[in-house]
């Protein structure tokens, strides 16, 4: 089977499945799944350009996605005027001083002529004193800011701009942090890189969880503005009333379907743009160079390619894509909940998408994202059905049966592990293999 026919068959099958969900369960459920499928396939495109085309292991998915979510707050929430008055600026100055001290220590470390021990001592001292100086400036204003109406605000707020701007800004935030992370860890061997990125993304999420002045921490930010109209507004419109009469769907359901559809349109647009750009990149000489580096670093280096630089470049591009997807995810949810970013679980879910779909093939990553997310959502009812089928001949009072039924929801973790292991064993190239060029 050629790749093209595989793509056609799989995409059509996926579409049929989603339609079936729409008809059997409800269109609302189908569209919710569809929207999240779109977001996860954008994330897996980001991983695919890193892993499939350049061979970089990035386990920091959730960190970048969380940064994208943070962009939502910074861009679209109204600023808390009181908080800015009491000490927003001193926090920024404090942070600035800390960052400055880090830069200073790096410059001293690189440029000065002392021997190594003195260098380490000096840069360590500068960073430590910078840190304590920041704490001196920042501690009191943070407490004050967090005390301002802690139930409603208690944070600095944002710029009150349209929420759509936050998507590219989320990408930029992720790209910027990817630059720093890449500088730190891209020189490492692949498994070290994996663990380092995982650790750093965990640090990012911890910061977002605990710095209440920035993101309200575990108190979450609710009521983020939307790029689409609200259901309530729609329900009073004349044309909605008429369509609901024609289609014979109750008005509340119709309005929420329309809202979800308009989200889907936005997400599809982003997905198509990202896919188009990535396809151009992969087909260009740049893509060829990336694959050459992936397949044999030594010979690519001998041909005069700057491997570290190229790795950094592709790391930033992929992370920016994940950041955009993360911003979209938060916009879709309408709230920013740092607790929901679980690095270990969801990061690897995206990885499973890439590997099952076919690493190195963008269309594969998209179908992987759709399939795996669909299974992840539907595995719970499926597992329940499966268990109740198996145990149907056992009486209801049996302890084993009730225990199995209680824990059936967790079967999806097993499912995911099994899917990953089977793919790696029997079809390591994935559903849609990389194109031989």
């Amino acid at each position: 089977m050629t790749n093209l026919s595989r793509i056609k068959i799989l995409y059509i099958m996926m579409a049929i499945t989603l339609f079936a969900v729409g008809i059997i369960q409800s269109w609302n459920v189908a569209l919710t799944i569809f929207n999240l499928c779109l977001i996860s396939s954008i994330m897996s495109l980001g991983i695919n350009i890193q892993w499939g085309n350049a061979g970089i292991v990035n386990f920091g998915v959730m960190g970048f996605a969380a940064l994208g979510g943070l962009a939502n707050i910074i861009i679209s929430m109204p600023p808390t005027q009181n908080a800015w008055d009491t000490g927003g600026f001193s926090i920024i100055i404090g942070l600035g001083i800390f960052i400055l001290s880090i830069f200073l220590s790096i410059i001293i470390f690189k440029k000065s002529q002392f021997n190594k021990k003195i260098k380490y001592m000096v840069s360590f001292l500068i960073i430590i004193s910078g840190y304590f100086f920041m704490r001196l400036l920042v501690d009191v204003p943070i407490e004050k800011i967090e005390a301002i109406e802690p139930a409603k605000t208690g944070y600095l707020g944002g710029f009150n701009l349209p929420v759509l701007i936050s998507w590219p800004v989320g990408g930029l935030l992720a790209a910027f942090s990817a630059y720093i992370i890449g500088k730190i860890s891209l020189g490492l061997r692949s498994d070290y890189l994996a663990i380092a990125t995982l650790g750093i993304s965990e640090i990012i999420i911890y910061i977002l969880k605990n710095e209440d002045w920035l993101s309200r921490g575990v108190k979450n930010v609710n009521g983020l503005p939307r790029p689409v109209p609200y259901e309530i507004e729609l329900q009073s419109k004349e044309w909605i009333l008429q369509t609901s009469k024609i289609l014979d769907i109750p008005i509340p359901e119709l309005s929420s379907i329309i809202v979800k559809l308009s989200y889907s349109i936005w997400f599809c647009l982003v997905l198509l743009i990202v896919l188009y750009l990535l396809e151009i990149a992969v087909k260009s000489p740049w893509g060829r160079m990336m694959r050459a580096i992936r397949d044999n670093e030594v010979s690519a280096n001998a041909m005069g390619k700057n491997i570290k630089r190229r790795h950094l470049q592709v790391f930033i591009i992929g992370s920016a894509i994940i950041g955009i997807a993360g911003a979209m995810l938060t916009t879709l949810d309408g709230q920013f909940t740092p607790v929901s970013y679980q690095p270990l679980r969801y990061t690897f879910l995206i990885w499973i998408m890439v590997i099952v779909g076919g690493s190195g093939n963008n269309f594969g990553s998209i179908i992987g994202g759709f399939l795996i997310w669909f299974f992840w959502v539907q595995a719970e009812p499926l597992g329940l059905w499966f268990i109740s089928q198996i145990t149907s001949h056992i009486s209801d009072a049996n302890v084993v049966k009730t225990h199995l039924l209680e824990n059936a929801a967790h079967i999806r973790l097993m499912f995911m592990g099994l899917i990953l292991l089977l793919t790696l064993r029997f079809a390591p190239k994935g559903l849609i293999p990389e194109v031989k060029r």
Binding site: I184, A196, Y206, H403
Partner: protein, 328 residues
């Protein structure tokens, strides 16, 4: 005072981390990949101990002042070893024979992690389990005060005592095995230079088998001790794998001594950095000079993040870890 809040918890947590890091290091040095499933192996060990504990308690077999978990530990270890061997036979063996890259092995181990995690939740459920029984304290604050005449008490929980004791025993046993016995030496030879070891007639399958036996033992003991000391919850074990990895890398991957040192470095720095220094100043300074606030270097919320910060620092300054890695 300091020993109560830093030394004893540090030693306990450090031993748990060190046991975990030892398991990861040994898999790394012999089988050449980072085993992400180790946390779930630990969880599996703890789960088998819990199930056996329930069985033993219902049969009313126990060792009163000590918790029943100690009694069932050997059987739980055997279960865990069996599980590891089955996983190896069905999954890892294939990739070993293909000489796959270590990254592929790493991703495979993630698959194993997911599967094992699901299996465990399927068997015991995701809830909190406390399976500690027996005497709670070796000595309490009050008895210690009376005994020594100091005005700050020192408490030692039974679990803490047991953890430290078992870790010391196990580590001594492991090092004796690796350095003195013939099998241990052949393992070290295999990890140093695979081809040379094969030429000199070392049976690779036997080495791999021994590796998994050791890994299973360490994982089960570490998991059970952690579960005894805190309480057992499958979710925490998923997250435990990260500090363990940091411990292994900080100490130098592939070096058992490094793994132990790394474990203690991580545990103590977590406690020292988040410790509230107010009480110490309270003793040394006159009362009007005691500053307000708790005087923590970082707030307690960042406890787990510290292990990653240390990891990043070590990777920046000395990527090979404190002890040069790669030698078993």
């Amino acid at each position: 005072m300091i020993s109560n809040y830093i030394v004893i918890p540090g030693l306990t947590y450090g031993s748990q981390l060190a046991l975990g890091a030892l398991g990861i290091t040994i898999v790394y040095s012999v089988l050449r990949f980072s085993n992400f499933a180790h946390g779930e192996f630990m969880s599996f060990g703890a789960m088998s101990s819990i199930l056996l504990c329930w069985l033993f308690i219902s049969l009313e077999i126990n060792l009163y002042p000590l918790p029943t978990a100690i009694l069932v530990l050997p059987i739980a270890i055997i279960f865990t070893i069996f599980y590891c061997l089955i996983v190896d036979k069905l999954i890892f063996k294939f990739y070993r024979q293909q000489n796959s890259k270590s990254v592929i092995n790493l991703i495979v181990s993630i698959g194993v992690m997911f599967f094992t995690g699901g299996l465990i939740r399927f068997i015991v459920g995701p809830g909190d389990k406390n399976f500690f029984d027996g005497e709670r304290f070796v000595f309490k604050a009050k008895t210690f005060k009376n005994f020594t005449g100091l005005n700050e008490g020192l408490t030692l929980k039974t679990t803490q005592g047991i953890t430290i004791l078992i870790t010391v025993l196990l580590v001594i046993l492991l090092f004796w095995f690796l350095n003195k016995t013939k099998t241990g030496k052949s393992m070290r030879a295999y990890s140093d230079n695979k081809d040379l070891a094969l030429l000199s007639g070392i049976n690779p399958e036997k080495v791999v088998l021994i590796t998994w036996v050791i890994t299973g033992t360490l994982a089960c003991v570490a998991g059970t001790l952690y579960g005894l000391d805190k309480s057992y919850k499958p979710f925490t074990y998923l997250h435990l794998v990260l500090p363990i990895f940091s411990a292994a890398i900080v100490g130098g991957v592939g070096n058992p001594v490094g793994a132990i040192i790394g474990g203690f470095v991580i545990a103590f720095s977590e406690l020292i950095i988040t410790f509230a220094y107010k009480k110490i100043f309270f003793y040394f300074l006159p009362s009007f000079m005691v500053p307000e606030g708790l005087l923590q270097i970082l707030s307690t919320d960042y406890k787990i993040a510290i292990s990653f910060i240390i990891l990043v620092l070590v990777l920046l300054i000395k990527p090979t870890g404190i002890y040069k890695g790669k030698v078993i």
